[in-house]
């Protein structure tokens, strides 16, 4: 057991790197792993003369690499957010999408876009997800305590409201191509990801990862509830708001870049828990890497399955996620 656990993290890291290289080679233009290396080496200044043609270089460096890196980061961020929310709210169904954070973030992002604050759109998404989170917890409290089912019901309510408001804004202002583009983004899509998108994703991860990973052990203390955590010396309110703030930031940025990609925060942590257990210092790094790999492959499927048309990746994650949601529901049917 311990040997497999010690090797599981490096193994995931190897799978992640191999997947990333493989994913760059997938697509309408056939590109070999060797060419991928050459392009990367050339742009990093290791290889002065690139053997790869200009066009193929651009496909790798301008299109596929930023997209692959964005997918990895978005997957890691969404999966981590889900795992943290599940622990903090003791709610196995917690997921940024199901609790309405993604819809809130989408509303915030679209509002800022239409106000002309294009550059500040990620900030709008963050405010939106933070607002949705606060509202979800408030509604659950009003219902008499944030039990899993109440939190989900509150999330449904917020998601419905935020989606309606978003649709209204789009209906009111967007036309033609931009309409279709925004709709595709709303369904969750990483198409058109550029280097700055990847940069923003990794900036958010860099800001939130240390906070989340440093509190992995404290999250374990929540296994038996707030009182038990407090009796183990945890400052429960402070930790809760710090970590929920971090997940709202992560979700907001991920939605600003990739739209409302659902269920990643549900599917990945549950699958990983089955393999490595619930201890968070072990769980969180695994969730992060597995989330990145999951997002990468679903996004690769999204852009290649129906080539030349591209599916919003949110459709694929929902196709996988909804049955998992049902399975989790059946597994935990005792809780309400």
């Amino acid at each position: 057991m311990t040997i497999t656990h010690r090797l599981s993290l490096p193994a995931l890291a190897v799978i992640l790197i191999a997947s990333a290289i493989a994913a760059v080679t997938f697509g309408p233009a056939d590109i070999t792993p060797g060419e991928v290396w050459s392009v990367i080496a050339h742009h990093l200044g290791i290889l002065p003369e690139s053997p790869v043609s200009r066009l193929r270089d651009a496909i790798v460096w301008e299109l596929r690499l930023p997209r692959v890196l964005t997918a990895l980061g978005v997957g890691a961020g969404l999966a981590l957010s889900g795992a943290v929310m599940q622990a903090l709210t003791r709610n196995p169904l917690a997921d940024p999408f199901l609790l309405g954070l993604s819809s809130g973030a989408a509303l915030g992002a679209v509002s800022f876009l239409l106000l002309g604050l294009t550059l500040l759109m990620p900030l709008g998404a963050f405010f939106g997800s933070l607002g949705a989170l606060a509202l979800a917890l408030l509604i659950a409290q009003l219902l008499g305590g944030a039990t899993p089912s109440r939190a989900i019901l509150a999330g449904i309510c917020i998601a419905a409201l935020a989606s309606a408001a978003t649709s209204f804004l789009i209906f009111w202002s967007a036309t033609g191509d931009s309409y279709r583009e925004i709709l595709s983004w709303l369904m969750g899509s990483l198409s058109g990801s550029i280097w700055s998108d990847a940069g923003l994703v990794y900036l958010a991860l860099a800001a939130c990862l240390p906070i989340i990973l440093a509190n992995g052990r404290a999250l374990d203390a929540f296994a038996f509830g707030d009182t038990a955590a407090a009796s183990l010396g945890i400052d429960v309110p402070r930790l809760r708001w710090t970590l929920l703030g971090a997940t709202a930031l992560l979700t907001g940025i991920m939605v600003a870049i990739g739209g409302a990609i659902g269920f990643v925060g549900l599917v990945v942590p549950h699958a990983v828990r089955l393999a490595v257990g619930s201890a968070h210092r072990k769980l969180l790094p695994h969730v992060m890497l597995a989330g990145a790999i999951f997002m990468l492959w679903t996004d690769t499927a999204a852009r290649t399955l129906f080539d030349p048309r591209e599916l919003p990746v949110g459709i694929i994650t929902a196709l996988i996620g909804a049955p998992v949601f049902l399975a989790v529901l059946l597994r935990y049917r005792r809780i309400t």
């Binding site: 003791r90 196995p92 440093a214 052990r217 404290a218 374990d220 203390a221 296994a223 038996f224 509830g225 009182t227 038990a228 407090a230 009796s231 183990l232 010396g233 945890i234 400052d235 828990r273 089955l274 257990g277 619930s278 201890a279 210092r281 935990y332 809780i335």
Partner: protein
């Protein structure tokens, strides 16, 4: 040195839950916290743990508990709740390891050999060594409660608080748990346990603290304070007290509930 609580008051949204409660729990003894539902037993334990804002002073072994840092306080006192479940996939070993959290270094990834020794001892003390590797959720209620006690013991507390730990246990498990508490008290641990069952309290506690309506109704040894008058005024029941010839402890025989108007509950 003992636990000394002086003039403790707790308010929740304007209503007094505890008013001016003062008592002491002798060191290395089991003190039973008794009183009817709503008397404030759980709130008192929460206040000792620093979970609810309280006025008054709580001193234990020279420490001013409310002013201590959370982590230091968690090394000094541990709590066993009535019954707490989890949905997490945790082994019994994982659960007991939680007790080491207040002692762990910030980035400690695994329990170190010293931790493992303490965890093994806590498992042995509670008779749970046999299911170290089992998933916590597969245990029976009584077994889960023993694991919770093991978790609390792994905290190496000087003061152990238990909130009605026997309420979901069968009689054998209740006796086992209280015998374990006896043994721990014998080893110098101060124990404060909220109990519903007055006969268990009379049998196992050295000292009793009686709460009624958020106030201290009485404190002293079971033989001193368990009287028909107290049971009438605090619990609203008529009862007789007989002496258990085997150990000289008082034994309560309940007769009937007193009609609402006749019960004189101190205010």
């Amino acid at each position: 040195m003992s636990l000394t609580v002086t003039a403790l008051s707790v308010e929740k949204s304007g209503t007094a839950i505890l008013s001016d409660v003062g008592f002491s729990a002798p060191a290395g003894r089991i003190t039973g916290l008794i009183g009817p539902n709503g008397a404030g037993k759980s709130t008192l334990l929460s206040a000792l743990l620093g979970l609810v804002p309280a006025q008054g002073s709580i001193a234990f072994e020279g420490n001013d508990l409310p002013r201590m840092r959370r982590r230091d306080r968690a090394r000094l006192l541990a709590l066993v709740e009535q019954s707490t479940a989890t949905e997490e996939r945790l082994s019994v070993h994982d659960v007991v390891t939680l007790g080491r959290i207040p002692h762990e270094a910030a980035w400690q990834a695994e329990p170190n050999p010293e931790d493992e020794g303490i965890i093994a001892q806590a498992l042995a003390d509670t008779g749970t060594t046999g299911f170290t590797a089992r998933r916590f959720t597969t245990l029976s209620g009584g077994e889960q409660q023993r694991v919770h006690v093991a978790r609390a013991l792994a905290q190496q507390p000087r003061l152990l608080l238990l909130d009605e730990p026997t309420s979901h246990l069968d009689i054998r498990a209740q006796l086992q748990l209280l015998a374990l508490l006896r043994q721990k008290a014998g080893a110098g641990m101060t124990i404060l346990v909220a109990l519903h069952d007055l006969n268990l309290a009379a049998r196992f506690c050295d000292h009793l603290v009686v709460l009624a309506n958020g106030r201290l109704a009485a404190q002293g040894s079971p033989a001193e304070i368990l009287t028909p008058e107290l049971l009438r005024s605090v619990y609203g029941v008529s009862a007789r007290l007989v002496s258990d010839t085997a150990n000289g402890r008082p034994l309560i025989v309940y007769d009937e509930a007193i009609a609402e108007g006749d019960a004189q509950i101190p205010d």
